[in-house]
Amino acid sequence: MNITTFIIVSFIKTVLALFVLLTAVAYTVWLERKVVGHMQNRWGPTRVGPFGLLQPLADGVKFLFKEDLTPPHVYKPLYIAAPIIAVMCALTSIAVIPVGNWITIGGLHIPLQITDVNIGLLIILGVTSLGVYGVALAGWSSNSKYSLLGGLRASAQMISYEISLGLSLVGVLMLTGSFSLRDIVDAQSGTFWWIIPRWNIFYGGQFIAFFIYLMSAYAETNRIPFDLPEAETELVAGYHTEYSAMKFAMFFMAEYANMITVAAVASLLFLGGWHGPVFGPPLLQALLPVFWFVLRIFCFLFLYIWVRGTLPRFRYDQLMAFGWKFLLPLAIANLVVTALVVALRS
Amino acid sequence: MTPDLHLWIIPVLPLVGAAVNGFLGKKFSRQTVTAVALLFSGAAFAMVLLVASRFSSLSVPHVEFLAPWIRAGKFQVDFSFYLDQLSLVMLLVVTGVGFLIHIYAVGYMWEEGGFYRFFTYLNLFMFFMLTLVLASNYLLMFIGWEGVGLASYLLIGFWFTKDSAASAGKKAFIVNRVGDFGFLIALFLLIKQFGSLNFDQVFQSVIPMGPETGGAGLLTAVGLLLMVGAAGKSAQIPLYVWLPDAMEGPTPVSALIHAATMVTAGVYMVSRSHVIFERAPMALTVVAIIGTLTALFAATIGITQTDIKKVLAYSTISQLGYMFMACGVGAFSAGIFHLMTHAFFKGLLFLAAGSVIHAVSGEQDMRQMGGLRTKIPWTFWTMTIATFAIAGIPPFAGFFSKDEILWRAYQVSWVYWFIGLFTAFLTSFYMFRLWFMTFFGEYRGTAEAHEDSGHDLAHDNTRAGAPAPHGHGHGHGGIHESPWVMVIPLVVLAFLSLTGGWIGVPGSLGGSNHFDKFLGPVFHSNIGAGAEGHGLVAPEEKDTERHEPQTGHATELIFTGISVFAGLLGFFLAWQLYYRNPQLPQQIAAGLGSLYDAVVHKYYIDELYATLFVKPLIAGSALILWHGIDQDVIDASVDNGAHGANEVSDSIRHMQSGNLRSYAGWVAAGAAAVIAYMIWMGTR
C-alpha cells in the first residue's frame, strides 16, 4: 500500500484503538467497583442506568466539570506535565499490541495492530519504564510530604520490579527468539498431547515466569497488594494527593490503561494471545480471535480485582524484600533453567 | 665416559648439616646437634672415600657439570666440579681432618654457649672449602674462597662478646679483603684475556704461550695478583698479620681453619694455576721469595712467643711459607705433600694444645704450664709425635715433605735452601721449646685456682658424661686428661703424622716417591707442551720433575742429613735452654736487648700497619668519606632536593585548589591543546 493509505489506515486504527481503550478503562473502573462491591456484600454502583452501567459516563462528566484547582507552592510546569506524561505513556504502549490476525477489508490486507515493529516488546517495556516519571514528578512537584513520599515509593518500587518483570519475559523471548509480539503469539499456536494448548505457560514451562510477571505487574501498576505509592491509610492518596478534577482523572486513566496493557502483554506472552477455536462465517472467523483475546484480558483484569478484594497491603520493606530477595533470584533461576532447556532442545 | 660420581653430594652434605643445625639447632639438644653435625661431615668424608676408591677407574681430569650459571654470550661460567689428583688429595685432607676435628670439637665445646651455632659455622665452612676445592672454574673457586673467609670470620668471632675476638674476626676479614681484591683483578684479567674462567679453557689457551722470561707480561701480572690473593688467604708476608689474632677463636677452629685447611687454600690455588706460574718466572720467583721470607720471619717470631697457640700460629705461617717456597721453586707436588703432612701434624698440634689448655683450665701461657707429662699422657705422647713430625725428624711425616722441599729449593738456588734450613732449625727449636716448657719441669701454674673460675673447662668431661681416662683419678686440681671424644682424634692424627710421610719417600731413601708420581699428571702433563719449544723454562724443573734427578742420590742424602742435623740441633738447644737450665733464656734475652724486644713485639709489624694504613684510612674516611662525601654531598643533595621540591610544590599547589571545576577547566584546556597538536600533526 502506498504512503497515504498507510497513514489513513494507521490513523483510523489509532483512533479506534484509543476509543476502545478509553471505554475499556471506564468500564474496568465500573467492573471493579461492582465486583469489589459484591465481594464486600455491597451493591456497588446501581443508580445510573441499568446495573449502573452509565456510571462511568457520569464520572467522566463529573471530572470534566469539577473545578481544577492547583494548590499554591507547587512547581507549576511539572505539576501540570506529570499527569500528561503518565497518561501518554500509558496510552502509547497500546500502539504495538496486536489484538488479532490479519484481516482483509476491500483488498487491503491489514494487521489488527496499530504498528508491527519487530521490537514491540522492548517498546512496551521502554514506554512503561518512562511512565515512572509521571508518578515521580507528580509526587515531587506537588510539594507536599504525602505526595513526595508517594512519589519516592513509586519510583523506587517501579525501578525495582521492572528488573524482575523484564527477566521474567526473557524466558519467553528465548523460547520464541523474537521481540515481535506477533511472532511470539504465532509461536504459541497449536496444541500438544492432542489437547493442551501450546501456550508458553504450559508448553514452555514458563508458569514460574508467569507468576513472577504477575507479581511484578501488580507492583508496576501500583495495584493492591503493592499500592504503597497511594496507600490511603498512610499517605492520604500518595502521589496524586494534590491533584483534582481532570488531572486526577488522567492518573486514574493511566493506572487502568496500564492494567489493560499489562493484561494484554500477559495474555500475548503467556496465554497464547488470540488463539482459540475458530469457526463460522468469514466475518466471525475474523472476529473470533479478537474475542478470545479480549476474553483473556477480561479474566486477567478480574483477577486483578479479585486480588484487590482479597489481599491486604504489604509493608514497604516487605515489598522491597519480596522484590529483591525473592522475585529477582527466582526470575534468574527460571532464566537459567529455560536457557538449559532451550540449549538441550536445540 | 667415566661413571657418574655425584660429586655434588660432597659439598652439599655439610651444607644440609649446616642448614639443619642453623635453622632448628636452637631447639635441639646438644646430643642432637652433635649427631647432625657429625653425621653430615662424616657422610661427606665417606663420600670422598668412595670417590677415591673409584678414582683409578676415572679419566682424569673428571669434570662434572651441574647447572648453567652465567651465560653471557661467549663468556660462560657453570656450576661444575673438577676432580683430579690434586683436588682428590685436598678433598681427603679437608673432609678427613675436618671430620676428626668435628669429633674433637664435640668434647671441647660441650660446655660452651651457642653449641649449635659453632657446628653450623663449622659445617658451613666445610661446604665452602669443598666448593673451593672442587670448583672447575675460578669464579666458583672464588665463591668458596669468600665463603671460607666468611666462615673463618664467624668462627674467629665466635665469642663475639669478647671484644678482642670480635676485632680479631674483623681484622681477619679485612686483611683477607685485600688479598681477595688481588684475586678479583686477576680474574678480570683472565676474563679480558681468555674470555673464560674455566680451568680447562684458560690452561688450554695458556699452554701454547711461551714463558715471559724477559720482563713482566700478562701472565706475570695474573700470577702476581693471584699471589696477592694467596698471600691474603694463607697469611704470607705482608698479609699474615691476621692469623695470630685469629687464635682468639676456639681451638678446634684454629686447628681446622687456621692450620689444616683454609690457610692452605692459597697454596692449592697457586698450584692449581701452576700452568700460569710456570710461564711467569718472575711471578714464581716472587712466590718463592715471599714464601722463604715468611718462613724465616714467622719462625723467628715464633721463638719468643709464650702463648702456646700464638707459637703454633706463627709456626703455621712459617710452614705455609715452606709450601709457597716449594711452589715458587716449581715443586708443586712437594708443596702439596707438605700441605698434607702439615695438615696432619699441625692439626694434631693445635688439638693437643687445645687439650693442654683444656687440661689446665683455659690457661694459654706456657710459663704457667710445665710438668704436664705425667698428668695428661695421651696428649703428651700425641703432641710428642707431632712435634717430632714438624721438627723434621725421620721417620715422621714432616721430615719427608720438608726434606723434599729443601732439596728442590737447593736445585733452584742455595739461598732458598739455606734459609729453609735455618728455618727448619728454628722450627724445631721453638717447637721443642714449647714441648719442654709445657710438659717438663715442674708445674708452674695454678690450675686449682682456675678450677671454679668463669671459663671453666675443668668440669667438661664430668658434665659431658664422657669417661676421662684419668679424669678423676687425680689427686689435685683441674689438671686432667681430656675426654675420649677429644683423645681419639689426637690418636688418629698422631698415627697419620707418624706414617703420613711414607707415601712420599724420595728415591734417595730407597723409596719411590709415590705421592709425586700420583700428582704427576697434574703438574707434568702440560709442562712439555709449553716448555719443549722454547728452551729453558726453569731448567731445574725440567730435569727434576721429569726423571731421576741428575744430581744423584749421594748429594740428596747429604742434604737430608744436614736438615736432620738441623732439626736435632734445634732439639738440643731447646733441651739446653728450657730443660737443663731454664733461667738461661732470660739472660740471653736480656743480652739481646732491643732486638729481643722487637722480636717479642713481632717486629712491631702491627703497629707499623696501624700507623701506615689503619689510622690514615680511618682519618681519611672520617674526613673525606663521612664529612666530605656522605654529609656534604649525599645528605646535602637529598636535603636540598627535598627543600627544592618543597618550595616548588609550595608555589604550584595553588593550582590544586581542590575545586573540581578548576580541574575540569585544566583538563578541557589540555584536551584542546592535545587535539590541536594532533590535528596539526595530521594535517601537516
Binding site: - | R661, A664, G665
Partner: protein, 100 residues
C-alpha cells in the same frame, strides 16, 4: 540520505555541551548529568561510525558504555548522597576539601 558527518557533528555538539555543563554547573548532580550527556554524545558517534563502516561492534560498544554508565550512576549517586550527608551541600564550589 543524511551525511554521516551530521551525526558526528551532532555528537560533537552534545559532547561539547556536556563539557561546558561540567565547567559551569555548580550542582553536583547537574555536573553528573553533564557527564551522562557526554557519554551519550560518544554513544551517538559510536553508532554513526558503526553505520559508516558497517561494523556492528560499534553498537556493541554502546552497550558497554551504557553498562559502565549505569554502574557509574549507581556509585556516583551513592557518593553524592554520602557527600550531602557530611557536607549538607550540593554546591561543588563548597566541596573542595578532602577532610572535613
Amino acid at each position: 540520505m543524511v551525511p554521516i558527518s551530521y551525526y558526528l557533528i551532532l555528537s560533537g555538539i552534545l559532547f561539547a555541551c556536556g563539557v561546558t555543563g561540567f565547567l559551569i554547573k555548580r550542582n553536583i548532580i547537574s555536573i553528573f548529568m553533564s557527564i551522562e550527556l557526554m557519554l551519550n554524545g560518544v554513544n551517538l558517534s559510536f553508532v554513526a561510525f558503526a553505520a559508516q563502516w558497517h561494523a556492528l561492534s560499534g553498537q556493541i560498544f554502546v552497550f558497554f558504555v551504557m553498562v559502565v554508565a549505569a554502574a557509574e550512576a549507581a556509585v556516583g549517586l551513592a557518593i553524592i548522597i554520602a557527600v550531602y550527608r557530611t557536607r549538607e551541600t550540593l554546591n561543588i564550589d563548597q566541596v573542595d576539601l578532602l577532610k572535613l
